[in-house]
Amino acid sequence: MPLDLVRLDLRLRRRMLIGTAVGAAAYLFLVVAVYPTFQHDTAFDDMIAANPAAAAAFGITGSITSPEGWLSANMYANFGPLLALMLTIGYGSAAIAGQDGEGLLGLLATLPVPRARIVAAKALTLLVAALVVPVVSYAVCLAGPHFELNPRWGPLLGVSVALTLLAFDLGAIALLVGAISGSRGAALGAASAIAASAYLISSLSPVVDAVHRVRWLSPFLWAVGDGQLTRGVTVAQLGALAGLGAVLVAATVLAFRRFDIQ
């Protein structure tokens, strides 16, 4: 039965998901295709070395002309998470609070489906939404060798999983806030604010001491902000991301059981 709810929610957001997938694929293909033009241009690396703070604000650290640095600077450290979070925070805020405000949730909640299973269906849909950008991005990167771009495939796969979990977690924050407040705006606002803060902490931690001390708080750092495209994602980082998601979904179940549905 939850699969029918998953199917319904995916159907209602089909255009958004497909549009974002196509947009991400087109953008990343361009990034991959122009790599040969920049791979030997050391001026870029010199510029970043001269302006580490400005580069860090865009999530760029280390060499930008290496395959991993190129993908990180142009996709995985900034634009990729942004697109993935747009999908998951958008869905997370719509799934409970949004559908409640529209009046659709009341009709669905009078079907013989326990509330925990409704949340499970929403979480599963959220996971599908979280997969879109990482999967499409990984698929486009597979074309990299045709353009002299040969990243380390294992770490890239790990980052794809981590990015999926990161997007899921921030979408789950929107889901939880929606189940507590019943307000789509509050869910969208809270999750977006937390995402922005987490991004800033992760990206500025290499250059700002005060931020460096609290960098462990940022799920961005766990997923993409700690050189994972080069060194790989650790089991601890994946565990932290997965654990956070599980806690958020469990909290949503508790909140949704107490939620008055319109």
Partner: protein
């Protein structure tokens, strides 16, 4: 002895400092159409949401088809058909897709009964919900509520947006439903809709049940209207002293009054005034509503 499909005891729901409903007691017996009346904002939808487990009551409890809706397990909802007062369907789906989606979620299969409902109401299945009029969406909502032949139907303003012919069709469907032994809770602010089809009625005002009785008993106690005209000037004040009589429109030659109880004392008081014409209207719940709603029978 079979437990009634709906039992509510001291059901109370507050929203912060606002009182939604207070001490609502209801018993809906099997195989009846139970009317739940009240002006908009009186607490009908709040009560229904508590009965369906959408709201957690602040106090009191309910049992619906033998289960406490607030307890969590949603099994009883398999045997409930619900039409919300403000129906919202997935806008991008066609009517056929909406029916298929909800049918699957109820683990049901297409049936001749469902096809019959679609045909009976002329539900539009080929167009997206977003392009349907309010009435056509309501037809889909009625099919959704009835299609799995639930033991209990909870219908909130079910004929909203339907034309008079379909309202008659709906009334026929209700009669067939209760003849089949199933139960209907019909909520409305429209007295005409309710008094055509219900056996018993509860009236809610400002979150509290003010009347819970059979329609026949309400009719018996409802005020009857008598209109008198005279070919000479009269003083109608003696009529006002008859127990149960209320004078409404009075001029020297035209008197309108309502009365409850036996007719004989009223006729005895009228006779000495030698009226030219007497027009008596049958007991009408509308008059009762006018009193209960504080001046508006169709408060909206």
């Amino acid at each position: 002895m079979t437990e009634p499909p709906i039992v509510a005891q001291h059901l109370t729901k507050t929203f912060g400092d606002d009182l939604g409903i207070s001490d609502v007691n209801l018993v809906v017996e099997p195989g009846e159409v139970f009317g739940f009346l009240g002006p908009n904002g009186a607490g009908k939808s709040t009560t229904i949401r508590c009965l369906l487990g959408l709201y957690r009551p602040s106090r009191g409890q309910a049992r619906v088809l033998g289960q406490d809706p607030a307890a969590g397990p949603a099994a009883f909802l398999a045997d409930v058909g619900y039409l919300p007062g403000e129906l919202r369907l997935p806008e991008r789906l066609t009517g056929a897709e909406v029916l298929a989606t909800f049918r699957r979620m109820r683990r049901g299969h297409p049936t001749a009964y469902e096809d019959g409902l679609v045909e009976r109401f002329g539900a539009e299945l080929g167009r997206p919900v977003s392009s349907l009029s309010k009435g056509n969406k309501q037809k889909l909502g009625l099919v959704l509520a009835f299609m799995h032949r639930p033991r209990l139907l909870v219908l909130d303003e079910p004929t909203s947006g339907l034309d008079p012919l379909l309202q008659d069709e709906f009334a026929s469907l209700l009669r067939e439903t209760v003849a089949d032994g199933r139960t209907v809770l019909l909520s409305s602010h429209d007295l005409d809709e309710v008094q055509r089809v219900v056996q018993r009625v509860a009236i809610i005002r400002s979150g509290r049940i003010v009347i819970d009785d059979t329609v026949a008993a309400l009719r018996a106690s409802a005020p009857r209207t008598v209109e008198l005209t005279f070919d000479h000037d009269v003083d109608p004040r003696p009529l006002a002293s008859v127990p149960g009589v209320t004078l409404h429109v009075t001029t020297a030659r035209h008197v309108t009054l309502t009365h409850t109880g036996a007719a004989a004392p009223v006729l005895t008081a009228i006779a000495p005034l030698r009226p030219d014409t007497i027009t008596a209207r049958p007991a009408d719940l509308e008059e009762l509503f006018l009193r209960l709603y504080g001046g508006t029978a169709h408060a909206s």
